[in-house]
């Protein structure tokens, strides 16, 4: 009995060692978890852009306003960058417009004088988790420090958004990613292992057709997964889609995100011949892309080096676009940039996939 167990142990271990790539990935995974997960989730939020406006009249800055702006701009915790980046607006309407476009996270409107019947109005982008609470406590802290006993009126411009709703939108992207990575990608490599691709290669079918076929089938599968999660989100988290137009926009974003993620997977899955190697790379990619997508935690809380990853992360644009539509009811004018980024990404990945798909066995 012992002999059999030892034989199996030896065989497994030999196979483990014979694949250095998988060994390295196995060791690297926990380290990456520590670095990326730790930084993405536990990072200190800083440089929150907010706007500050002085109520009119009077038409010149009051001491309260000037002092409050300076104080807000200099809130820091020991050893950390400052919490808020304050932009002074002269016009409340302009400030609110930037807030609704997502350029700033909050607008604080100061009254003309220190008194307990003139309220400080605070408008926050409530589609963001954590940030509104930070801004609110900062404003209250500054007023207390200045000895101003004005009450603070907080308006959540998108209403009360629960973390579940914030996170639920991110899960749509996760569904797209996992269904593509673990469904489509593995199926692609299995086909390769079973020689289905070798069968393609001796037929006149073009490399472009092979990639187009694989990507389109993968896109449809991913779309079904993403759409199902979207429907489940509506049922479970209680998000409300305001109009038919929003609904169609959500579908458009999910679709384009599916093309992007599927192209990414196909472009590199077609280079792998073994499931094990692929699986370790996928786990790694899933970690990086999902953690930096902002699905869990606001991107603003990430260190700069990690934030650079979001720039090339299709999931970030997907999550951002979906949140804009679902949580903020924003339209094409705001999510246009996300859609363009997703499309550029998809295009690049499709070209990469076609270019790297080998037409011969070598």
């Amino acid at each position: 009995m012992i002999r059999g167990a030892i034989a199996i142990f030896k065989r497994d271990f030999k196979k483990f060692l014979s694949n250095p790539f998988v060994v390295i990935m196995t060791l690297l995974m926990p380290v990456m978890y520590l670095v990326i997960f730790g930084n993405a989730m536990g990072g200190t939020i800083s440089h929150i852009p907010i706007g500050a406006v002085q109520e009119v009249p009077p038409y010149n800055d009051t001491p309260l306003f000037t002092n409050a702006v300076i104080a807000l701009n200099h809130i820091t915790q020991k050893d950390y960058p400052k919490l808020l980046d304050v932009t002074v607006y002269t016009d409340e309407t302009a400030a609110k417009r930037d807030l609704s476009k997502g350029l700033i996270a909050a607008v604080v409107v100061f009254p003309s004088e220190v008194s307990n019947d003139h309220a400080v109005r605070l408008y926050v982008d409530s589609s963001n988790s954590i940030v509104p609470a930070l801004v609110e406590s900062a404003v209250r802290g500054v007023l207390a420090a200045l000895g101003a006993n004005n009450p603070v009126l907080v308006s959540k411009i998108y209403g009360d958004i629960k973390y579940l709703q914030f996170f639920g939108v991110g899960v749509i992207m996760m569904a797209i990613f996992t269904s593509t990575m673990f469904g489509g990608g593995i199926a692609l490599i299995k086909d390769r292992e079973n020689g289905i691709h070798e069968g393609y290669l001796v037929t006149p079918v073009q490399r472009t057709s092979i990639i187009a076929g694989i990507i389109s089938s993968g896109t449809v599968r991913a779309f079904i997964a993403g759409f199902m999660i979207f429907l489940i989100d509506i049922l479970i988290t209680g998000i409300i889609i305001q109009s038919v137009q929003d609904f169609l926009l959500v579908i458009l974003v999910i679709f384009i995100a599916c093309v992007g993620v599927t192209s990414l997977v196909v472009s590199f899955a077609s280079r792998f011949s073994a499931q094990q190697e692929y699986a370790s790379v996928v786990a790694f990619l899933n970690l990086i892309l999902f953690m930096t997508s902002g699905a869990f935690y606001p991107v603003i809380g990430m260190p700069d080096w990690l934030r650079w990853i979001t720039v090339i992360n299709p999931e970030y644009y997907g999550v951002d676009a979906l949140r804009s539509i679902i949580l903020r009811g924003q339209g094409l004018d705001v999510i246009g940039i996300d859609l363009i980024a997703l499309m550029v990404f998809s295009g690049a990945m499709i070209i990469l996939g076609i270019a790297t798909y080998r037409r011969t066995l070598e």
Partner: protein, 368 residues
């Protein structure tokens, strides 16, 4: 087996002489292939394929030059690892040759691989059927890949299914099929677009005798439709049964190429006679050796191995000698040399002994 072994340096036909009859090299410098017009459909010219791995190089195909005629069944016969599959993979555009050229119909394999893919049908050694699809779906899928007219496709699929005697299983998943059924399905699939040339890489490997016979029948049937068939095998009987011409390949090189009759003539010894006995006397041996038709006599334990130009004529005389000396015979057998004997004679080893291992590229290749 000593008598079969002659001086291999003089009698051993190499690819330089006896092997390649009727070979006309295509004109260098024209860039194209002149094969298409003649009776040859494939011409291979000094083709070499070298696989380089980390610290060793393996010459899988070594300077092979040969021609395949239009409409014939051409056999590539050799032990495992002789380079047969590599040669097939080069001709089917799956691998690029290291040096040399090859023309398939009028196309150069390195210059017009797309054109070649439209006129060939390939049935690789390892199955490429999708076992999770039905027989019908497999054929339909492949038919669309090779551009069979959509209107004619359904009829063609049923025709092929009937040919493979699988019509009653058309809508069953391939994973429920036996090895022989899968093989037949794969062979007809390769034939769906009426290719000019059909490549079959070890079509009956791992099949039981019954299934092999069925596959052979199918191959003969396909050949009746004027398709050139190139098959690789390491089974003698398969090559003997099916092939018009046979190329012996060993260690990547071409050893001989001819039809069955001519290949058998390469052995100078002729027929083999085996006589069993209980005891032997020197008188018998010397009497037999006196017969001028007999090439060699050899005693092996309780058997006498005699090789003679015309076995059936010599046999009565031999029997008479045994009777004359009152030596009882326990058995008599006479046979003409088999393809295997020819192969042993040419290479000094048995076919299924295998030789160098052929480095098979991992399926689909690995990222490198």
């Amino acid at each position: 087996m000593e008598p079969l072994q002659k001086d291999r340096n003089t009698d051993h036909p190499t690819q330089d002489d006896a092997g390649i009859r009727g070979y006309t090299p295509h004109v260098p410098g024209t860039g194209g292939c002149v094969t298409g017009s003649g009776e040859s459909i494939i011409s291979i010219d000094h083709l070499t394929k070298i696989f380089r791995e980390k610290n060793r190089t393996v010459t899988a195909v070594n300077d092979i030059t040969l021609e395949v005629k239009r409409g014939e069944i051409f056999g590539l016969l050799g032990p495992n690892g002789a380079g047969k599959s590599t040669l097939i993979r080069i001709l089917t555009t799956l691998l690029r040759p290291t040096s040399g050229t090859a023309c398939v119909n009028t196309y150069d394999i390195t210059k017009a691989p797309e054109k070649i893919r439209t006129i060939i049908g390939v049935c690789p050694q390892n199955s490429t059927l999708d076992v999770e699809l039905t027989a019908y779906d497999n054929l339909e899928f492949y038919g669309q890949l090779v551009n069979v007219d959509e209107r004619a496709l359904d009829a063609r699929i049923w025709q092929l299914l009937k040919m493979a005697e699988l019509a009653d299983r058309a809508h069953m998943k391939v994973q429920t099929f036996s090895g022989g059924m899968r093989r037949k399905l794969e062979i007809v699939r390769a034939f769906i677009h009426h290719p000019l040339i059909l490549f079959l890489d070890e079509p009956t490997i791992g099949l039981d005798p019954e299934a092999r016979r069925e596959v052979w029948q199918q191959i003969s049937k396909l050949n009746e439709e004027k398709t050139t068939i190139i098959l690789t095998t390491h089974y003698m009987d398969e090559a003997e049964k099916l092939c018009n011409r046979i190329a012996f390949v060993d260690k990547g090189g071409l050893i001989a190429l001819d039809n069955l009759e001519n290949l058998k003539r390469l052995i100078p010894a002729g027929d083999l006679i085996e006589i069993g006995f209980e005891k032997m006397s020197e008188d018998v041996l010397s009497a037999i050796r006196e017969n001028t038709l007999i090439n060699s006599v050899e005693v092996k334990a309780d058997h006498l191995h005699i090789s003679a130009k015309n076995g059936s004529k010599v046999l009565p005389a031999i029997v008479a000698i045994f009777e004359k000396f009152s030596i009882p015979m326990t058995s008599i057998s006479i046979r003409s040399p088999s393809l295997e004997d020819v192969f042993i004679y040419l290479t000094g080893k048995k076919l299924d002994e295998g030789g160098n291992q052929e480095p098979k590229p991992a399926r689909g290749g690995r990222p490198s």
